[in-house]
Symmetry: C2
């Protein structure tokens, strides 16, 4: 008979209900595989009257999270947000109990404090479910890459925005219509701000950056640009050029020691394996010094995939408690507890779309500004070629410029000069281009 470990759950929404379901129905399988039996002893949520796809037995229910923290040996926090969730996590860690959470918001903004608390209390804070749903991204960084220097992470980390971009691309829908369909299907919330503005993906890439590079990113310094402004025209032009538009999360260690941590709509070449990660799927590319490139792709959200990740953490903590009396962690968040210096400026290629009057000298003057700002042009798109994408002939035509790598500050300076040119008729569209291949 395997040793039993008492597990408590705070928060019984979509993922919480999934966790309860797995713990209550798969205890035998887990015991057989892991040699330890996690026993769900208490579940707290504010409102037990809401309908749920799985019924938590009456005897396990409470509305008081403190009861959960008291009775459990492993505490699962699935409340979300940074209010009560923070209280729960802190109380459990202070009591020396391993905490499992899927709360990216809390970790991205208060990870440093929580990691320190776990260390002080001699316990662990596990969070596989916080990033990439069921895809074991945290595990790969913490365990598989324990001997490697991580150089770069490129990820599609938000299923909602990826669904919207795929819909726009495949069905030629404008953003608002694709968003509406995502909401209808339950892939986007009534208030989709966190997803659409890129904040959710930014929370996730900040957590991965902390783990990968060691240290903590000041979340307010993460560069975030969402997909609300994305125009169908650019998706289609990009496609003609061999690119797909993705909301890419990027974390890079630069030679100067600074890290780039950023989220923005990005053109990804079709030869990059992330270009085929479509719909609600998430996908991530890790690049490290010995292992090289590793790609993972799967369900980045959803109740049962995320619950699978949460339960794996619970079982890991339970295994340690059962065998060792306390839980240890291969590469804890905060393995290096310094601050990561986030680069103000980043270095990439750009796609620049301008609306210009169709008259002589236009390209000359724009090229002159780019040259003066030391930005090298990789390609200019002919206006005739673009015209087929436009509804009707007009005296204002788009001009597309692809640049070689340059600093964001350079391109921003160039744009501020270009948009003051008299023949430039509306605000330029700037999209970063990621040429990384597998």
């Amino acid at each position: 008979m395997a040793k039993e470990v008492r597990v408590g759950l705070v928060g019984c929404g979509t993922v919480g209900t999934g966790v309860a379901r797995i713990l209550l129905t798969e205890a035998d399988l887990i015991e057989k595989k892991a040699g330890v039996r996690p026993v769900l002893v208490k579940v707290a949520t504010r409102d037990w009257s809401k309908p749920r796809p799985f019924t938590v037995p009456e005897r396990l229910r409470t509305t008081d999270w403190r009861e959960v923290v008291e009775s459990a040996e492993v505490v699962v926090e699935l409340v979300g947000g940074t209010g009560v969730a923070a209280e729960v996590v802190k109380a459990a860690l202070r009591a020396g109990k391993p905490v499992v959470t899927a709360n990216k918001h809390l970790l991205a903004e208060h990870g440093r404090e929580l990691a320190a608390l776990a260390k002080e209390a001699g316990t662990v804070l596990l969070f596989e479910g916080a990033v990439g749903g069921g895809i074991p991204l945290v595990k790969v960084l913490k365990e598989s890459l324990v001997s490697n220097e991580v150089e770069e992470i490129l990820g599609i980390l938000n299923g909602t925005t990826n669904f919207i971009l795929t819909k726009m691309e495949e069905e030629n829908l404008p953003f608002e219509e694709a968003l509406r369909q995502a909401q209808e299907k339950g892939y986007a919330e009534a208030d989709p701000t966190f997803d659409v503005e890129g904040v959710d993906a930014a929370h996730k890439i900040a957590i991965l950056a902390n783990l990968a590079f060691g240290g903590f990113v000041d979340f307010s310094r993460v560069f975030v640009e969402g997909i609300r402004g994305v125009e169908l025209l650019d998706l289609r032009l990009g496609r003609e050029l061999g690119y797909k538009l993705k909301l890419l999360a990027v974390a890079k260690r630069r030679p100067d020691g600074k890290v780039e941590v950023r989220v923005h709509p990005t053109f990804v070449p079709l030869s990059n394996p992330l270009s085929t990660v479509d719909g609600v799927y998430n996908g991530v590319l890790f690049k490290s010094n010995y292992l090289g490139r590793l790609k993972l792709q799967g369900a980045g959200a959803g109740a049962m995939p995320t619950a699978t990740a949460v339960v794996q953490d619970v079982v890991q903590a339970a295994k340690w408690l059962a065998e060792c009396g306390r839980a240890a962690d291969l590469t804890p968040l905060g393995w290096d507890d310094g601050e990561l210096e986030v680069a103000d400026d980043f270095y990439t290629r750009y796609y620049l779309r301008l609306a210009v009057e169709d008259k002589p000298g236009v390209l000359y003057q724009i090229a002159k500004i780019l040259a003066e700002e030391d930005i090298s042009i990789a390609g200019v798109l002919q206006q005739e070629w673009i015209l087929k994408f436009l509804p009707d002939r007009s005296e204002v035509v788009p001009l597309i410029i692809l640049t070689h790598k340059a600093y964001e500050s350079q391109i921003k300076r160039a744009i501020s000069r270009i948009e003051r040119l008299p023949f430039v008729r509306s605000a330029p569209v700037l999209i970063r281009v990621e040429e990384e291949r597998f």
Copy 2:
């Protein structure tokens, strides 16, 4: 100061040298991340005079593996094969020491005995490096999927054959020429039998099946067909039909409780994410009940990727020893130590290419046999369409039949009847088709 754990290495070939390199140069990084310091204390190999890309210090060298087992707390076996390697692993396990190996041959054929030995001795047998090189396939099965029923594994698990098939396809090379190029590049050994005949991939899928389904596959019952007989014509015809040819390793749990474990050249639709795993890369698709589909892709071989996997196991064992005094394992090989019943027969779709005389009644007689064997035809390819792939017009023409799902025994019976038809001019080509999508 983190606790030190003594690590010994038996075998100093390509991967062994990589492991020594990482342990000796990355000890600080590992200590910082994992809070434990693995210290390489002894390395055994038969011949120290061979040139190696990394020099193991004189003081660590020995030619006697027993010395390694005696002096180390964690023993790494990288000898390969089933001779000395088995002795090393058994001696270390009997001494109660965690063993890390990348020896798929040993595990596929003697895994049951070794797993029992580890259990008896209260220690662990770790083998991330044995399957998929640096891709954490073992970890995903053991840890991420601890609460899930695994339904299916599809994998490209051998880089050599994948390189050869990619070369054949991309450069229209016949098998022998592509093999020669693989040997020139060091991707294939002078004797490529294990790779080319599918045995290496079979070892790997057998190990994954044991872990996924719980129990042990009798390796002699794994169906193995290599790529030596693959003709360029079929690759090209397949491409026209929307397929890529891959040496696919398959492990499936069937509704009747039996498992299919098999390796054979397989047509994979371009919409399947494994179709883009080209060259020496490996890629695997896991399907499980809660997590759904998860795909991993990366370096399936090579010194440093495989060494990364081996070192991760070493660090995991060392962490347990340092914190707990002994090592435990989330889902050990042999978590269910029964025998897996391997299906004799398997159930899939087929591509059948026949060389037939170009005369009336041919299709009628073949279709009649298939109908009598209860095999449903999904498509027949017109002969005119195929002719463009043939060097010159001839009275013998290819006829391609795609079937719906059928048992291998049915198709084999049908083929033995078809090849006796007077107008069938050479042995039919049979290729399995895997329609699984992401």
